[in-house]
């Protein structure tokens, strides 16, 4: 190789190298979308989820953002589960806000936006919905909340641990209720337990007398109470009114449920759920807890914690993709970065790891209602343990 050829080859390599390492257009602001329940029947969820996410955004920005560029949360409202509103919100986030990363909530809306996520390669992280129908619908969709399978399995395993054999279950007539019933039946079968009654009622119904009468007639050892707030509380009220004294295990319990059921009827109800509590050996969780409580005057629940955690996950992914260069602010690159190392710091302490189905593996807590307050009974190991 003569000198001229060598220089030409060397300069070509430099050009190619520079081109490869050339940073893509960096956004002025990293806008993260969020499709939450800000109005309708259950705006409580959207309120706490958005608060959790905003605490994370502000914390990251206060620490200098992503190499000086700030994060911004853009919230769309799915009106307590309207799939139409969720799809409209997703389209606005993609076409107007032009974000490749979206936080979603509720099972129905999350399933509804999955085809768009898949087609447009938008990274979606759900921290609230628990339906199995969200699994495998988009390669860019992930979940940092335990899904119905995990929670139902935990509740059934808890019933088994307590020596119960005959299970009765009640749920709303919805995609959520159907998936929870299917999941619990599968686990009960595996554990050799008998499902003696499965009752369902119309979504938002307040009259569940017939369902509760049939629960009683089945003479179960334990009642698995699958509805969310406020119907979880209503079921407990009716079950106790009709004279059933069997233990009840729920999947969700809030102050509103205690208010509806009454303190006396609520006592002893167990809840299999994600659970957030600050701890001295968990600086991330403690930091979040302190800031949330200071800002909003109340303790954060696990929904708030999940969305705080979700924003932290996305920020970590942006840092990872940016370090590698190229067109880094895309859903495909964020997804790729997640699979390269699926373990992330968890606000619950330690690490959480995304499984092949896109769901982060977390332990499930069994809480017990005691005079209106939820008290930690024990943790059940993660299902894959």
């Amino acid at each position: 190789m003569d000198r001229r050829t060598f220089l030409r080859a060397a300069s070509s390599l430099v050009v190619v190298g520079l081109a490869g390492a050339a940073p893509a257009q960096e956004p002025d602001v990293y806008r993260i979308g969020a499709i939450l329940s800000m109005s309708g029947a259950t705006p409580h969820y959207g309120t706490v989820m958005s608060r959790g996410a905003l605490v994370a955004v502000d914390e990251i920005n206060a620490a200098g953002g992503i190499d000086g560029r700030k994060l911004e949360l853009v919230i769309e409202d799915h009106k307590s589960g309207s799939t139409q509103a969720a799809v409209a919100g997703m389209n606005r986030l993609i076409n107007v806000v032009k974000t490749p990363a979206v936080l979603s909530s509720f099972s129905g809306p999350t399933v509804a936006i999955a085809p768009i996520s898949k087609e447009k390669q938008v990274f979606v992280l759900n921290g609230g919905g628990v339906s199995l129908k969200m699994i495998g619908v988009s390669p860019y969709m992930f979940h940092n909340r335990s899904l119905a399978t995990d929670l139902a399995a935990a509740a059934v395993r808890r019933a088994k641990d307590r020596g119960f054999k005959r299970i009765a279950q009640i749920a709303g007539r919805s995609e959520f209720g159907d998936s929870v019933i299917a999941a619990s039946q599968e686990v009960a079968k595996k554990l050799g337990m008998e499902v003696v009654a499965t009752e369902q009622f119309a979504a938002d119904a307040t009259n569940i007398d017939t369902q509760v009468a049939k629960l009683r007639a089945a003479k179960p050892d334990v009642v698995l109470n699958w509805p969310t707030t406020p119907q979880a509380g209503l079921v407990v009220k009716r079950v106790r009114e009709i004279g059933m004294e069997q233990p009840i295990i729920s999947m969700e319990w809030t102050n509103e449920d205690t208010k509806l059921a009454g303190v006396a009827s609520s006592n002893g109800v167990e809840v299999a759920t994600d659970y957030f509590a600050p701890a001295a050996d968990n600086p991330m969780g403690q930091r979040f807890y302190d800031e949330y409580k200071k800002r909003y005057g109340e303790e954060p629940d696990f929904y708030a914690a999940n969305y705080y955690e979700a924003v932290q996950v996305i920020a970590t992914l942006i840092r990872r993709t940016k370090a590698k260069g190229g067109d880094f602010w895309t859903g495909a690159r964020l997804t790729e970065a997640l699979w390269e190392d699926p373990a992330f710091d968890s606000v619950y302490g330690g690490k959480m790891t995304f499984q092949k189905n896109g769901v982060a593996l977390k332990r499930v807590a069994i809480l017990k209602v005691d005079e209106g307050a939820l008290k930690l009974e024990r943790f059940l190991p993660a299902q894959a343990d």
Binding site: T198, T210, P230, G233, I242, K259, L260
Partner: protein, 287 residues
């Protein structure tokens, strides 16, 4: 056997509530021809008013109940005077009035959510008895539902049969054009039925408030069951609405004896379709 007895008891209790709501709705619908879907939100709003008076202002529940009933009566009349009457005066077709009533339904429901929030409103100070009769358990609220329905149904029937206003209402229900010819003030009759029907809905609202707590969507179920009760029983017939409601409650409850409960919300429509095919004017041959 214990299950069917319990389901029958529940059916009579729930049916009484549906029948009560049906009577109020049917009184308005049968007399004026207006499908007053905002009957539901008026019911829900009166429940919220009762809750606010009792829980926030600390008024005794009976006082809150009376004021809540009065509120519902006024709200019903305002709905008629402000919305329906102007539309009818302009000769709007019935479907326009129907759409307006749906709009009012959504407007009032959303306003309640904005004003009061969407969490369930409960009265923790009110307790009621639970009675065990053999294998059947029945609560004090269920007994009150049955008693209230009987008292109001009988009272309304007597009112319609014996009072001048009752005769006027029956005349308008039967033939509004003829009623006008013989000098009945149909506008006043409409105002009276909107007031009476809405006040009856508030009694049902009190049952719901004490039993399940109030939330913004209770109005939907109330008007849904009231409407089916009226159509099944026969439009324009108080007894028809009562029988329709009782039948609906019994079928919905006892019908689940051998059927999975996931069918429960469907069975109301099955009853509706069967009756409409068999007797298109309702069980008691209404208008």
């Amino acid at each position: 056997m214990d299950l069917i007895l319990q389901l029958l008891a529940n059916g009579v209790s729930n049916g009484s509530q549906y029948a009560l709501l049906g009577i109020g709705f049917g009184l308005i619908f049968g007399t004026t021809g207006i499908v007053h879907f905002a009957y539901g939100p008026v019911l829900a709003a009166s429940a919220y008013v009762m809750w606010w008076l009792a829980a926030s202002l600390g008024l005794p529940f009976p006082v809150a109940l009376v004021l809540g009933v009065a509120f519902a009566g006024i709200a019903g009349v305002v709905a008629y005077l402000v919305l329906y009457e102007p539309l009818l005066a302009r000769g709007s077709p019935s479907f326009v009035v129907l759409v307006a009533s749906l709009g009012l339904f959504i407007l009032v429901s959303n306003m309640m959510a904005v004003l009061f929030g969407t969490d369930a409103k409960t009265l923790s100070d009110i307790s009621y008895g639970i009675y065990v009769l053999g294998d059947v358990v029945i609560t004090g609220v269920q007994l009150v539902q049955i008693a209230v329905f009987v008292i109001i149904a009988v009272g309304l029937a007597i009112f319609l049969r014996t009072s001048a206003w009752g005769n006027a209402i029956r005349a308008v229900t039967d033939n509004v054009a003829m009623a006008r010819i013989i000098g009945i003030d149909t506008r006043k009759v409409a105002i009276v039925v909107f007031a009476l029907g809405s006040m009856i809905s508030a009694i049902g609202a009190a049952n719901i408030l004490v039993r399940d707590g109030a939330s913004t969507h209770i109005g939907f179920f109330a008007v849904f069951y009231a409407f089916i009760s009226v159509v099944v029983g026969g439009v324009g017939s108080v007894w028809g609405a009562a029988i329709g409601g009782l039948l609906l409650g019994l079928v919905e409850s006892a019908g689940m004896w051998k059927l999975p409960t996931e069918w429960q919300s469907t069975i109301a429509f099955m009853v509706l379709f069967v009756v409409m095919l068999w007797r298109p004017t309702g069980l008691l041959r209404g208008n």
